[in-house]
Symmetry: D3
Subunit: 214 residues, 6 copies
């Protein structure tokens, strides 16, 4: 049973609404940072410097087998690091085993600024005029993938590669092209016509890219 007083509930809801209303007026946030929702009926959250610190990259590095066995993306975005909410910035840490690829994808809400920390990466993006830009990056290089365009990274070499990507949004979003197109059940006729191919090829691609039922 809800045992809190009626007026307390009113006050709590009003306080929440005011807090939120203040977040939306001007395009950016209207305070220093966005405090996570205080617990109803409990004392206000005590925000400390730990709220602004994120340690999962460190943890990942310590517990990751080396050389890595799979392509791994560790995200530091507002979903896992709430202090980023309203600050318009986030990171990804990318770990590529030899010969692994980060498949063609887009980010809807941000450009990607990739810094290669170790190893080497072959990267590319396609502009809306259909021109492909490719580059071979070595450790220390930076490359920018413009906002919303299809791009990929590929570790062609024999050694692992690690990279950091910065985004100008706390929630850049990712649309994985192979999975979106061939892994979601889009009608075979649509795909065959779109890719100017036959049903057999479409079904082969779908079989490879459709995630198994859980």
């Amino acid at each position: 049973m809800v045992s809190m007083n009626y007026y307390s509930l009113v006050l709590v809801v009003v306080a929440l609404v005011w807090a939120l209303a203040a977040v939306a007026g001007d395009p950016d946030i209207l305070g220093d940072f966005i405090v996570p929702a205080p617990m109803v009926g409990m004392p206000p959250t005590n925000i400390t410097s730990d709220f602004f610190t994120y340690t999962d990259f460190l943890a990942a590095k310590e517990y990751m087998p080396w050389p890595p066995q799979y392509f791994i993306v560790i995200k530091a975005n507002m979903e896992v690091f709430p202090a980023l909410n309203g600050q318009s910035v986030s990171y990804d840490m990318l770990v590529f085993p030899s010969r692994y690829v980060n498949p063609p994808h887009t980010h809807q809400r941000a450009a990607e600024l990739l810094f290669v920390q170790s190893g080497a990466l072959s990267v590319g993006f396609v502009d809306t005029a259909g021109k492909l830009y490719t580059q071979v990056l070595v450790a220390g290089d930076i490359f920018v993938f413009p906002k919303g365009l299809v791009h990929y990274q590929y570790n062609q070499g024999p050694n692992p590669a690690t990279a950091f990507s910065a985004f100008g949004s706390a929630a850049p979003g990712t649309v994985n092209v192979p999975a979106s197109v061939f892994g979601t059940g889009i009608d075979d006729a649509v795909l065959a016509k779109s890719f100017k191919t036959d049903f057999w090829t479409v079904q082969k691609l779908k079989a490879a890219l459709t995630p198994p039922p859980k």
Copy 2:
């Protein structure tokens, strides 16, 4: 007479352009509308109501063979209709012959609000969690494709279909997925690994989707 050196002029113009490239003022335009560049040394352009009128949809309808033979998109965006610059809105007119598809694509800068004027369309989009939303639309229906997500339209029926799409940007941008991925020369290894398929399939798709050299 202009007596300045050629290279000085180049430097001055480049400096001006760079200075401006960093300029945005308020987020929106700071006047009623954006006047196209007046001609150098000529009297200022005389803006009339024709500047705000666009007649290519009408022209297209009158001269288009019926039933249509190809999938056609006629755009009313700021590239062809300069008055839209700064007004954050544009239209596409879409004409689908029977059995034709508008292949999976994204718009980087706007959601698409599609109105079916005649015929019927099977449409779909995929959200970033990999869920496919499909719908069969008839004349009079409206459907919204959220910003940045992969979507398609398909005229499954025996008759032509026409539709209008509104966008919340004067330059929504389009990334055609099959053409971007298989029609731009991305390395076969990247594509084979990304689509979890063999080189033969990649080459077959590239052959179908790569535009012929001009």
Copy 3:
């Protein structure tokens, strides 16, 4: 009586607050789309493709007497079509009987991009320098009314006219000039001085434009 558990309520409110907080950080939404508020204590709303579909234009066409008897505006904005929230686009369908006018008005939050579907319309807008731009549009024509300026449409001809207007906002807003000025009780002296006229004329206009008490 509220029979839900205290901790369930806490979780529900926290979830709501987090969902909303994520909507406001960056200028645009930070997800694919905005899900309507899940019901308290019930399973999360099951979003289907119907959520992205709007059928009131179709319904209106089927049940509207023809020829139409009144000037009719059917809106497809976020108030009636919640999926538009955060997508920055909306539609109006306008139906004009012969000799009917859509009175001078402004939209505070968007330009209007009008497409004439059938019939003909005389349209106009006034820029902030006091210059009137008028145009006669026929079926197939497009016209843009710049953001925030006073504009009108008028069906001068003997036949009905239908048009669609796209807006670069999910909630463009409308300020109807005659109703705002003469139908809201503004003091007679203010209006007489503003319109440089006499009290009798003001009172006559107010009588015509003030809505009857409900």
Copy 4:
């Protein structure tokens, strides 16, 4: 010597201007302030603190007859005070003789925050639901007119009134309702139907509000 053809230069400049018209960078300016265009072929403008200072309010006060004879608006916006470009703020100084009105108008790009410095003002605005909000303000009072809504100020009393209005845009824009509607040549039939009145009344209002030919 510049040896390029005149028409080539025209084309180059036009191309640059069109390219730039589409350029916005980040939503706000990307520097401390926007420097006015340096003169071609001259040394860069020497920006001093005078660039950030505006003295026309002071000048107006010194040379204005008192009591004032007309309603006067002195603007401190980016057109007359270029340092405001990109700073999203501006002022108006308003001087009302006794019994004078600032007629119903809207600002497309900003709310207005009015501070009454001396005298008293009757003010009002109408929301989009058609509700009128009126207030009598005395010296020292502040009132906010929300963005884009029709509003007016009226000095009902026997003494002059002065006020300052702040706007959250360097170029808020003004649409004067009586002048826009009755002073620009909109067709009599459109106005008669819109205001539900007769041609005679329309012509009388037009005669009063149409500026004399220059």
Copy 5:
């Protein structure tokens, strides 16, 4: 005990969430103004014109001893004047006794447009290139402090000075430099190295600027 009906609570929360969701989609608010949170289970707040009126400047003037004894800032921002929420504008009233200073500070979210109402002020700001701009302002002068830069105002003269500052944000924010740097407990070594001075000077400044424990 919460005695409201389960379905009422659902409706109230859903209404609140919808109200808020509408605030965040487009960069600006999507309504005329933001209504403060209606009380849960009570009739909707009756918004009157008093909601848009702010009288604390008037009250301050009436009750302030004259000449003033301290530097005083009275704010009219959205924290104390909720109608400003979403309207992107606010005011400060500044009262300077003779020889008083408003110490170096920044506003994170807005430029400041200062109008000197009475007396005179010496003002200055520093751009990011380290150039100081100073000006002596007299009553009637306006000065703009660009967004985010360090600035101060100083009343050098024998008489009090009053000024009004407009901001292009309803919540401009203030970072007081002396208090932030020397009044918050930053490590002595950090401060000594940053200011290229000795521990004794740092401790002296900290002693002067650290607020006493409450």
Copy 6:
């Protein structure tokens, strides 16, 4: 030959630049990326993938003496890496010798997301309520400094430290607090009053922080 008068050309270019200075279009760029100004009279710049690649971090690492002798910041922002223009993201590489500090500063246009690559850093920021948040970061840790607030980093340990900072703007801007306040010639009286100290202390700080004349 260009036969127009020199002053006419100046006027035309100035007019164009002023017209453009007010132009912002949609809040973001309206193309894939911003191409640097093509040379006047030359073929359009041939944009290659090198335009999107930045190698100064790599170069810096190779040529920097180790251990480092000074605190070094290498920037990858739009000033030195033009492809970032319009992409709303940038990087800084920070190299700290043992016992070196990055003095208290603010960024006007972005939050800072710091990743410690090697060594350890003591960091802190002060919110607008005057609360100091401090943290000791080790290699692999991430910390966010909210937008516009005063912050510092300090390498307390015996070894060098390197870090990368991502910003959600291509031009975040930096206001160095000690240099802005004590190194720019602000009047001694203003500083003495602001820091509640004596002229001798102000002059000592100014002597230490004022850059030598060039």
